[in-house]
């Protein structure tokens, strides 16, 4: 069976913020770069990011700086973060943002004409460079429009199903195009995974169909290690009504602009329970919280801007205790600020245009008049492929990872706004290091047997039609999503997790029997059948890691182990594929932090 062959120095898999930034960096370093994306260029999930890019430009509050950003990131991550990545990220984010402006991004401005920054959960000062509430679109379009003039080859609507190796090192990748189902072999001495997240493993998610854990699984199958997979962020505010839009994101920017959470009794329940780490920095009254939103530097943050894990649990508690909104969420009210700001409705529409539009069109609701109903939605994987903090290299030589599919920066919980800056900082680093790795190492050989096997595996779903017990891939996908949502969701218990692990194995057997109709040309049934392997693999990783960590920390909440355990605060969980094909999981101590970083944490409190 034939295939097309492409040769690159650096192959980037994924064309969201991290992939595009990596491609631009590798190209600037002189490499011949190819980018493979599952969708059309510019449609990646980065467009959904709304709030902004966290970078301590200190344009709004001169007390900000990389040290504060570093300390905020570590505190938010409950100190499980890779401290080297948190340091590099805090130091380099401002330069990466200024560079976007030089490439044409148009951020909102301060009164003196500089880049405006907004408040966000867990950030001590206004830190998020933004464009209304469509910052992700601005970022991806800027990178896309800059990137297409850099001589980068873009392979659109191509899905990679396997990484190719030459001995220990990576040698390229194998995949198919959606249009005609043709097979492609990409030969490259350096491969960057920038495939995003795993949200499609859950029923309620803010993520698109692409987020099936492809990079995680490609890396795992190629022998790379993964880290901290138990930490899945459930964003506190997803839409809950109508049912068909359940999970779609409502930006944290609503709360940054003064939106408040209330239960069915009208109570601002976020004041009821403030975690000790944040007690000193949280407002003591509603009035103080409002002053903070309006830029009073002496005021402390309203509790709606506490970290996402905490806000999500608080909403869930109100719902469980019978004080939720009619459709099982909480009320998020921005309309109330009309009494406090001039021309309030217009102010809301200008600050939150896509939210206004989204609710008006999808829920028949005017957010300048009525509160929104919101509830937690699967949003982001903090865990992922283990990388070196400086180079983004995985444990497989020549294989790098950046963005959401990589791990380390965010620890147990990611702060809003740190994702877009992560994409830029580590995308650029991955691109540079991939280019230098490719220049130092010659072209690898490609194992033809592995290519033939990849083709056979890809075509298997077509061979299975006609059996009595065959079922479509969507049935298995939905069953997995229900299982993960119900057993491995926000609140976890050992018994549920054990059951989930067993049932994932059963679903794997069912997936191996899924039958596909039609032919290879743009056949979503076939694509879904092939994605199942990835979804099942990351689901098993999440469930096993969640079971292995008997404590509650950051985004990982164990009902049967409600407190934090100091010993578990010193270790990461590392996953890799054992020689016999089983999933191996082990504890590894976090290396001690250098004195100067330790001092920053102490000084920032």
């Amino acid at each position: 069976m034939s295939h097309h062959t492409h040769e690159h120095d650096v192959l980037v898999i994924g064309a969201g913020g991290a992939g595009l930034r990596a491609a631009i960096a590798a190209s600037a370093a002189g490499a011949r770069v190819g980018v493979v994306c599952k969708s059309l260029l510019g449609k990646a999930h980065t467009v959904m990011a709304e709030g902004g890019i966290a970078a301590s430009l200190a344009n709004v509050d001169e007390r900000d700086g990389w040290r504060v950003h570093f300390a905020d990131t570590m505190r938010g991550g409950q100190y499980l973060n890779n401290w080297r990545m948190a340091e590099l990220h805090a130091k380099e984010a401002p330069e990466r943002v200024r560079e976007l402006e030089a490439w044409g991004a148009l951020f909102d401005r301060t009164d003196d004409g500089r880049i405006l920054q907004r408040n966000f959960g867990g950030h001590a000062y206004p830190r998020l460079a933004h464009v209304g509430d469509r910052t992700g679109l601005e970022m991806i379009r800027t990178l896309q429009d800059h990137g297409v003039h850099q001589g980068i080859d873009v392979h659109m609507e191509v899905t990679i199903t396997r990484l190719l190796k030459d001995g220990e090192r990576v040698a390229g990748a194998f995949g198919y195009d959606r249009e005609l189902g043709r097979f492609h072999v990409f030969r490259a001495p350096a491969v960057i995974l920038a495939t995003g997240g795993i949200g499609r493993a859950f029923r309620i998610t803010s993520n698109s169909w692409e987020y099936t854990g492809d990079g995680h699984t490609l890396a795992y199958d190629a022998g790379a290690e993964l880290l901290d997979m138990e930490f899945v962020q459930f964003h506190p505010t997803g839409m809950v009504w109508p049912p068909s839009v359940r999970g779609i994101l409502v930006t944290e920017g609503v709360r940054g602009e003064g939106g408040v959470l209330r239960n069915s009794e009208g109570r601002r329940f976020m004041f009821d329970d403030i975690p000790p780490l944040y007690r000193d920095s949280t407002a003591g009254s509603e009035e103080e919280g409002w002053r903070y939103v309006r830029g009073d530097r002496e005021a402390r943050r309203p509790p709606e801007l506490l970290t996402r894990d905490h806000v999500a649990r608080m909403i869930l508690r109100e719902v469980r205790e019978g004080r939720g909104s009619p459709h099982g969420g909480a009320f998020l009210d921005i309309a109330w600020i009309k009494d406090r700001v001039e021309d309030g409705a217009e102010h809301i529409r200008r600050k939150l245009p896509s939210m206004y539009h989204q609710f008006k069109q999808l829920a028949d609701l005017d957010i300048t008049e009525e509160p929104m109903e919101v509830g937690p939605t699967t949003h982001y994987a903090m865990g992922g492929i283990r990388v070196d903090g400086d180079t983004q290299m995985t444990s497989v030589p020549g294989l790098l990872a950046a963005g959401e599919c990589a791990s380390g920066l965010h620890g147990a919980n990611r702060l809003g706004g740190n994702s877009l800056s992560d994409l830029l900082v580590f995308g650029a680093r991955a691109g540079e290091h991939a280019a230098s790795f490719a220049a130092e190492h010659g072209a690898p050989g490609v194992d033809e047997r592995a290519v033939e096997e990849a083709k056979r595996t890809a075509l298997e779903p077509f061979e299975r039609t006609g059996g009595d017990d065959d079922e479509g891939p969507y049935v298995v996908q939905y069953a997995l999503q229900d299982l993960m949502q119900d057993r491995v969701g926000i609140i976890r218990r050992a018994a549920d997790l054990e059951e989930a692990i067993g049932r994932v194995a059963e679903l794997r057997d069912r997936a191996a029997r899924t039958a596909v109709r039609g032919n290879r040309e743009y056949n979503p049934g076939w694509h879904t059948a092939l994605d199942l392997h990835n979804l099942l693999t990351v689901s098993e990783m999440i469930a096993r890691s969640a079971l292995a960590r008997p404590e509650s920390r950051g985004a990982h909440t164990r009902d049967d182990h409600p407190g934090k355990d100091a010993e578990w605060g010193k270790v990461n969980l590392v996953i890799r594929k054992a020689g016999d094909g089983s999933m191996e999981i082990r504890r590894e101590a976090i290396p001690p932090m250098p004195g100067e970083l330790e001092a920053i944490i102490e000084e920032q409190g």
């Binding site: 467009v47 959904m48 698109s208 896509s354």
Partner: protein, 246 residues
């Protein structure tokens, strides 16, 4: 549960026809949800593009009951369900399969437009200063999600097939975003007139009507660009000046 009949275009570049599907749908559903339900339950191989399902990525463009729409933003309660709802691919682009079209021409066009070129930085630290008002003028154009519905509906492309001589409303919006960018110093008037074919647009405003982002394409982007082109090439004083400066 309410019930609907969907007539969905099935086929490829060679041949195709509407296929009929009976299905139930839930309160609040959009057309894309129903198409997905049909795909999951009756037609696993039904080809459809989508990503964000929130009107932000511009992938699920199609013609619903004959009018160009994002399927993810078209609610069922806005359509009459006492008759069949038709869903077909964008007709101005070559068909790949079912509801998926080949939109690669758009990507080729964009590559030919002069990229952003900023003036030298205003401050010593390499940054710029400009007013929110100056940003606001352009931010409308930068809302574009590249769904290409404006290209789909434009007569010059849809009926006259002038793809080789006319870049279409999407790329006038893109050009306007660059030309009116507070920092940009490139001059794209020549390419708008020649390769861009801006003169072919006869301002029927069809593009503006279908834009899901409500960008005022004709009035705010195309007409000001036409004026700039006219100023550059047909202004008698400037022409005289060009004669003398040769």
């Amino acid at each position: 549960m309410p019930h609907a009949t969907f007539e969905i275009w099935r086929g490829d570049a060679e041949a195709g026809a509407f296929a009929s599907y009976e299905t139930e749908y839930d309160e609040g559903m959009v057309v894309l949800d129903v198409v997905h339900r049909i795909q999951a339950e009756q037609a696993n191989d039904l080809a459809v593009r989508w990503n964000c399902k929130a009107g932000k990525c511009g992938s699920c463009s199609a013609e619903v009951n004959g009018s160009p729409k994002l399927m993810c933003m078209t609610r069922m309660n806005t359509l009459p369900t006492d008759q069949a709802i038709t869903v077909e691919p964008m007709r101005s682009f070559p068909l790949v399969r079912d509801l998926v079209t080949d939109v690669s021409w758009n990507y080729d066009v964009k590559k030919c437009i002069q990229p952003f070129r900023p003036r030298p930085p205003d401050a010593e630290d390499g940054t710029w200063r400009f007013d929110q008002r100056d940003a606001d003028r352009v931010q409308e154009f930068r809302k574009c999600i590249e769904c290409f519905l404006c290209q789909d509906v434009c007569h010059v492309l849809r009926e006259h097939h002038l793809h080789e001589r006319f870049i279409g409303p999407r790329f006038f919006v893109h050009s306007a975003a660059l030309e009116m960018h507070p920092l940009d110093v490139e001059d794209r008037r020549g390419e708008l007139k020649e390769a861009g074919g801006i003169g072919y647009c006869n301002i029927t405003k069809c593009c503006t009507k279908v834009c899901p982002e409500h960008i005022t394409i004709t009035d705010n982007a195309i007409i000001p660009l036409k004026e700039r082109v006219v100023d550059r090439f047909y202004d008698p004083v400037r022409r005289l000046f060009r004669v003398f400066s040769k």
